[in-house]
Symmetry: C2
């Protein structure tokens, strides 16, 4: 289906304003520019008009309006994506959820919250803290819940708490035929009918727009501790990850950093960390005794697995120091490469293949003479290589590296994206990764978006 | 779409035999009768012919054959469902996965196994035990992995380990257009394209037939313990469930039994349990110190919540004794009602509404003068009432009770089925539970099964 979208004329803008109110529609250039890019290096493109609906019914109205007139419509949350996911590459309407930012209900006894899609998870967590609860998925950026659902965001604590898709119980979705449907329920266990919820979660706004969600919350951990262990080789470090997981420890976060990254942090911050492959661990426990048991076991496993050094603490200040390098790795890399942009890879593989993937990445970086900082959610087999670049040639080189990395990850039984979503940049890998299943995905998209107006250009390779 | 299926003629049987080999096709009455019912009270119905394909490609061939000729085709695993899910109510072909029972690979370092759909989880667990691993979803019956996926089975340990759908990473699915597709990957984290895996899981063979799966495994717990606590009221017991969950304890199983059920067990088994609302807990820990920490905290929470008695143990024999009543509740009920059948309800609600649902069930049983044994996966808000009956009138009365219970559960924000699936018995609740989302489900079914031959009569109310 070709992308021959209708132009947004002043009459269209007026119709939208009549539908939503003039305060809820803008063709202002500054407003549009602000929402023309995410945090990735994908080219900015401004939409022609922004709409800020305030109810699910209004979202559905805008979608139907756009579909009937064949106008591209791209949902927008906070613009914190890293793969161009919310860039309105075909112009048209930017459907912003920014004003649907109401916390509808906090069900403290159920450890659930019902929120509109435009709520930011950090704002939600501020509201939840006095109740001893939090939403544990922490992707880093100041994302909205709607954006996190659309991209199935994750982050380091997905190891213990799951990704966004594991923490969604019920959603409200606006469809482009103008209907608003509800999928799932507030019951934790559900085996009723088809799992539409997980079809919409991760579909990046290409099948419908999630307007409200009921998420699972977790109790704020009473006790938190950290451990850091360094190893003689990448293989040793990843073998330790396997041993830690097989021990039955319920680790909150288990992160990997390679020797080059540690060395860079030592240089920039004047630190004296062991410049070796390093694991960072975080533990959440309901009481001090359980925490001590976990730390003791983790330390034992690390030493058994040949760790060169192991440091563990239950002290909050010392914990901050231990995790300083991991917490600030991204910021430090951006400071070192001030003025440059970053391409961030997101391949993920079975843990048994993680050492092979990391060593492949290191060898490719060396062979291609590329700077690259390697950070991994090791417990989940997910690796990010941060690749700084200055210009189009640098961007192309970074892309070529990612192509090779994804190829390797797929051959190792993995995926091109663990938590960033497909967006613009990974559309090209979909056929190789999914084979004939891609045709089923395409058929589903045609079924739910017959005019092809929902976030066009994203996720699936719709042939031009 | 009307159910005007084609008749299975001897010529059809011959064609199937030519396709699969004569050893893989049978119209034998005894064989067909054996596979004409599950463990529910739904009426038995034999298929006209059984096919035992041995590869995914053969499954797809049979599906395409059936679809092209408009012959009903019902997938079969072990027949341990409890809602009529695999009964071939429209005759036609019974597509048995029984001979696809190969363990393809055990990825011990990844804690994953790849198995064909006909593998039974208990057989798998016997293979896994020497490696210190197990598949933690334990629905009770001797189910196949394919059946567990199709119905999204769960069981008591879903509290810690999740339901089947939470433990599936990749599936191979045969479609009725003859294709075989692969969904998901062996990476734990996945945000690549649409989540087709969760669309097929729980669809009870109405969208395609799962032929192979890669599942997550868990380390066999080094230390296991149990605790039992009794309470003055249902409300107190459920408040304690809430407090236990909010404490941050990672409880493996948290089960509820009502006073009537305990009293019955005392009578039948000559035991002297406290005939009160009772919670049964199980804990899995990686070492003794962690286990002690959990038991101590659980005991404290129970006492704070006003438990009348709390007993806890780390001793295996004593643990068996503590859990005897819970482990044997179903068997004891069937012994007491020898010769009767059971209807088992499966509604689930948010935990905050669980006491209300239980009290509603108790009041309705009393008002309707029905015998009913109430067992709950309390930690997940899932309640089973076992309703014995002798005849059609008794069955109708049990059904009427379930109708009322489901109505109540839906009003409390819950679902008609937490873990048994929709099968035949809950089709009638789908419109009320899902509203307009049901139309999207129906459209998906038409898309993937245009001739309506896949497990007809199940899950969705396809109008006659």
């Amino acid at each position: 289906m070709p992308f021959d979208f209708a132009t947004v004329t002043p009459a269209i803008v007026d119709e939208l304003a009549a539908m939503l109110g003039s305060h809820a529609v803008s063709a202002d250039a500054a407003q549009r520019d602000q929402r023309s890019h995410d945090v990735s290096g994908h080219h900015a493109r401004a939409a022609d008009v922004i709409a800020w609906p305030q109810t699910a019914e209004q979202v559905a109205q805008v979608l139907k309006f756009a579909s009937d007139r064949r106008i591209a419509v791209t949902p927008w949350g906070a613009g914190t994506s890293v793969e161009g996911n919310p860039i309105p590459v075909h112009g048209g309407i930017l459907l912003s959820l920014e004003r649907m930012n109401r916390i509808v209900a906090i069900h403290a006894d159920d450890m659930q919250a019902t929120v509109e899609a435009g709520v930011k998870y950090r704002d939600l967590n501020r509201q939840l803290e006095p109740r001893g609860l939090f939403f544990p998925v922490d992707p880093g950026g100041d994302a909205t819940l709607g954006g996190m659902l659309a991209n199935n965001a994750a982050g380091p604590k997905a190891l213990k708490y799951g990704a966004t898709k594991d923490n969604a119980l019920a959603i409200e979705v606006a469809l482009c035929d103008g209907r608003v449907i509800r999928c799932g329920s507030r019951s934790i266990k559900q085996s009723s009918g088809y799992d539409l919820l997980h079809l919409f979660v991760g579909s990046e706004g290409t099948l419908g727009v999630i307007t409200q969600v009921t998420i699972k919350l977790a109790p704020l951990p009473r006790c938190v501790s950290a451990a850091v262990a360094s190893f003689g080789s990448v293989v040793d470090a990843i073998q330790c990850v396997i041993a830690l997981k097989r021990s039955g420890l319920d680790i909150a976060a288990l992160e990997f950093m390679d020797a080059g990254q540690v060395r860079m942090i030592n240089q920039v911050e004047g630190m004296t960390l062991d410049a070796r492959p390093t694991l960072f661990m975080e533990f959440h426990a309901p009481n001090a005794q359980a925490l001590e048991a976990e730390l003791a076991l983790a330390g034992m496993v690390c030493r058994e697995q040949g760790a060169v050094s192991v440091r563990a603490t239950a002290d909050p200040a010392e914990r901050q120091r231990l995790w300083f390098a991991r917490h600030n790795a991204y910021t430090i890399a951006t400071r070192v490469h001030a003025g440059e942009r970053f391409l961030t890879t997101d391949a993920a593989v079975p843990i048994s293949a993680l050492a092979a993937l990391i060593e492949f990445a290191q060898a490719e970086l060396a062979q291609r003479s590329l700077a690259g900082y390697l950070l991994g959610h090791a417990g989940d087999g997910n690796v990010h290589v941060l690749l700084p670049y200055r210009d189009e040639a640098g961007y192309a080189a970074a892309q070529a590296f990612n192509d090779a990395l994804v190829e390797k990850a797929l051959n190792l039984g993995g995926t091109c994206t663990g938590e960033h979503g497909v967006g613009l940049g990974k559309v090209k890998f979909m056929r190789q990764e999914h084979g004939d299943a891609l045709d089923v995905m395409l058929a589903l998209r045609r079924l739910l978006d017959s005019n092809g107006v929902l976030n066009p250009g994203k996720v699936l390779p719709v042939e031009l």
